[in-house]
Amino acid sequence: MPQDGAFLRIHQVAKTYTARDGSSIQALRAIDLDIGEGEFVTLLGPSGCGKSTLLKILAGLLPRSAGEVTVQGRSLAGPSRALGVVFQAPVLLPWLTILENVLVPAKVQRIDPPLAAARARELLAMTELTGFENRYPFELSGGMQQRVGICRALVHDPAILLMDEPFGALDAMTRETMNEELQRIWQERRKTVLLVTHSIPEAIYLADRVVVMAPRPGHIVEVLPVDLPRPRTLEMQNTPEFGRYVSHLRGHFRAGGMLTA
């Protein structure tokens, strides 16, 4: 693992929530993770192991209790233009057209409008949404809305893309198509990606490395490099190599319990 060349470095990050009744819940314990530039890392773990908590800390939406996050050596405090975030739900603003929705970060960050609009159209074309620029979110299907969410996360050209179960709400077929599309986007744009998922095949299919987490409190149990050639195809999921990765990861989540390292 590149210790010095790390692009996004998560060092000893911990999070303790204080509940309403004053009791504290430790959600994350000493998370260490270095992510290289242009690397695609997926975060896999059972419900409640702190995946969303970690992502929110990286996105600057949640203060961490301890530790440090740096991007290219610079400490990350609060939301940053270097980041694009895709949420589990598309979270589009219903009163804005698709194009205007994609342009929200550009507007917030006062990016030159013609430049931003050109980039937005390019992204919409890449996600096969050309022709829908002037439609409203309620006129689009769930999968299309989620693609708009991805365009929005990319419009300000962030170096890092954070995705929290971006396809969790989609049906299996759409999800596979979206995975193919995401791989294509990533290969074209070479973003550094951290994607949270519950799906083992999705985690393997997309990742350079799969990070496996376990709960109580959230910690990393394994970092698994995926050594499959790119571009990956959906057919690859039927190969014995892919199957070996799947069964290895499934070992962590055996019957009812979760192995702790």
Binding site: A59, G60, L61, P79, S80, R81, L83, G84, V85, F87, A89, V91, L93, P94, W95, V104, P105, K107, V108, Q109, Y136, P137, F138, H156
Partner: protein
């Protein structure tokens, strides 16, 4: 089959219902020989209405009451809206002002109306102010609620792309408040009709409420009922105007069924 039943429910049934209600009313008045000063038959009310519509006295009084309603509504709604923004945006303003507002709201406006008439006289201004005090609160309450109603995920989305507090307010909170503000406007416009009439009852020299009192005093029941019909039509028309504007402004809520409940 579906077409037939929807046609039945859409036009035939309501017409049948109306014929039954008004026909029954008419028949009952004749059959039981109810005196005119107790309950006039619908036909007499229609005649009185036609007569009123042709008289310039009625036109003048209608105009006065409409002005009281619209001006009072505008004044009260604007005040409620502005104070709503202030209270929603400043916790200090909320603590300082809100207790007084709530205390004032619990006062029955009918009880306050005579004081306002003494302060502002028997002319239009006292009616406008009474109407404004009634239209004020629905807007205040709904504006405050609306400005706090923006979904947390929309705010988080904006914050994650480095939006400032002001940008979050402008781009999300304001828009999320619109449906609530329109509920407030809808309630306020209907209450404004009541406000103007109450004001005229307390003391006035003109207006539909004044005319209503006069006709009532003269035992002209058909005329009284005719004015009641006009008042209710005014309410329905103003409500329809607000609804039409609302449908245009909050266009994104028409398709889904998630519009806040209104009157």
């Amino acid at each position: 089959m579906g077409r037939g039943s929807s046609l039945l429910a859409g036009a035939v049934l309501p017409a049948l219902m109306a014929a039954l209600v008004f026909g029954g009313w008419e028949a009952a008045v004749w059959f039981f020989a109810v005196p005119k000063i107790v309950l006039p038959p619908p036909s007499a009310i229609v005649l009185a209405l036609i007569e009123a519509l042709g008289s310039s006295e009625f036109h003048w009084n209608l105009l006065i009451t409409l002005w009281e309603i619209v001006a009072g509504f505008a004044l009260g709604a604007l005040g409620g809206l502005l104070l709503g923004f202030l209270v929603a945006l400043s916790p200090l303003a909320e603590r300082l002002v809100y207790p007084y507002i709530v205390a004032f709201q619990t006062l029955p406006k009918v009880a306050v109306a005579p004081i306002i008439v003494i302060w502002f006289g028997y002319g239009l201004s006292s009616k406008i102010i009474i109407t404004a005090t009634i239209a004020f609160f629905p807007l205040l309450a709904n504006t405050i609620m609306g400005l706090r109603a923006a979904p947390a995920d929309q705010i988080e989305m904006l914050v994650s792309c480095t939006a400032t507090r002001w940008q979050v307010f402008r781009m999300v909170r304001l828009m999320a408040a619109l449906p609530y503000i329109f509920v407030g406007l809808d309630v306020a416009i209907v209450l404004s009709v009541i406000g103007a009439i109450v004001g005229e009852f307390v003391g006035a020299k003109a207006g539909l409420g004044f005319m209503l009192m006069q006709k009532n005093f003269n035992f002209d029941m058909a005329g009284t009922f005719a004015i009641l019909v006009v008042l209710s039509l005014i309410g329905v028309a103003l409500h329809a105007i607000v609804q039409t504007v609302q449908r245009r402004v909050i266009f994104w809520m028409n398709i889904r069924g998630d519009r806040p409940v209104s009157l």
